[in-house]
Assembly symmetry: C2
Homo-oligomer: 189 residues x 2
DNA sequence: CAAGAAGCAGACCGATCTGTCTACACACAG
DNA sequence: CTGTGTGTAGACAGATCGGTCTGCTTCTTG
């Protein structure tokens, strides 16, 4: 793994656990064992590193979710079941790929970059849109009618965010199961 | 307004807008026009101030929500309608009492204090539990059966968190309306 | 071989961080 | 009258912040 990747992975780990503004550059350097000069060779500023970390998590999360959805049954109910079982695995730390659950990195990050116009905030918004798009794609493949897919994908997204927040803030680790049952009831109409 | 309250209100405003770790003590002092000695007279540390700010927002939010729910129709569907209309007002900045919408302060704060054992995190969890309890209380008064009330209150809580996240991260200001429709469909069963 | 990219350690910069302290002012209760 | 509580302004301390820079090494590539 090259130094750039080492920095991004280490920074993600620390940012995810403690928040972005709570973690200093020097801490990232110490943990990753990379020299300061090297960091500023790859990134023009801390914020550029933050952007790279968001992009890294974006790619990792979408890859994981896509793999999970692809291996499930390709029906509407099958997809919903697969989605919320995947979330349940995540909440209960059965996915090494995503590291220990500390809520949604993108939601947490938007808490620190609250202005909707900020670049970091926009990257987070784009991630959430990408997730809903992915869900819509899978729904479309099941043969659901077009207007219903995007509406259902939005609904699943809303339930997913709600479950993540309840799992993180309240420690309600069964939130994915609950949300999945709600989703099935809503999709039945 | 005494100096202690001035500090808390100013700190909340800055924390809510920019995040907690991004705002320094000196900035709070400058904006509030309070002396540093006075701050440390009332609070033993920045974290003690943070705790007071969380408690302040907790009280303010619960008071607002309670007032809104009380003036609505006391039926299940009436309550759901009232709840999500209130959220819609919040998301679209029609509630001066809550200041400009920047997502949920408690969710944002949990992003910065990710460890579930941390005192600040626990205060946020308690707030979320208090909201669900309030919803359950109102549902109970409509004459709904006991086991159904707590389940429905949890569901409403999940939809509420999902709507808040979508409204903040995605800028989807209609999220409360969407979530309200879902809630009505779920409650109809 | 030469050049440049990528790496190291860490000194250094000015700014800012949380928190302490001095010195003084005013109000109010015993 | 005299302490106590609440307040002011701001110097100060020690640590840490993001970021720059020097000097040196190693690898790769034209």
């Amino acid at each position: 793994m090259d130094k750039r990747q080492q920095l991004v992975v280490t920074a993600f780990d620390l940012f995810y656990r403690h928040g972005i503004h709570a973690v200093g550059i020097n801490q990232i350097l110490q943990v990753s064992g990379v020299a300061k000069k090297t960091l500023y060779h790859h990134f023009s500023s801390k914020e550029a590193l933050v952007a790279a970390v968001v992009a890294y998590r974006d790619a990792a999360y979408l890859e994981w979710l896509n793999a999970r959805l692809a291996e499930g049954e390709q029906t509407v109910t099958g997809l919903i079941h697969t989605l919320f079982m995947a979330l349940d695995d995540w909440f209960n730390d059965r996915v090494e790929q995503l590291t220990t659950f500390h809520g949604c990195f993108f939601i947490n990050t938007c808490g620190e970059y609250g202005e909707p116009g900020h670049e970091i905030h926009r990257l987070c918004a784009r991630h959430k849109a990408a997730v809903v798009n992915m869900l819509a794609d899978y729904l479309r493949r099941t043969g659901t009618a077009a207007p219903a897919t995007s509406r259902l994908a939005q609904t699943l997204g809303l339930l997913k965010e709600g479950a993540i927040v309840q799992a993180h803030v309240q420690g309600e680790k069964r939130a994915a199961i609950t949300a999945g049952e709600l989703a099935l009831r809503l999709a039945a109409d």
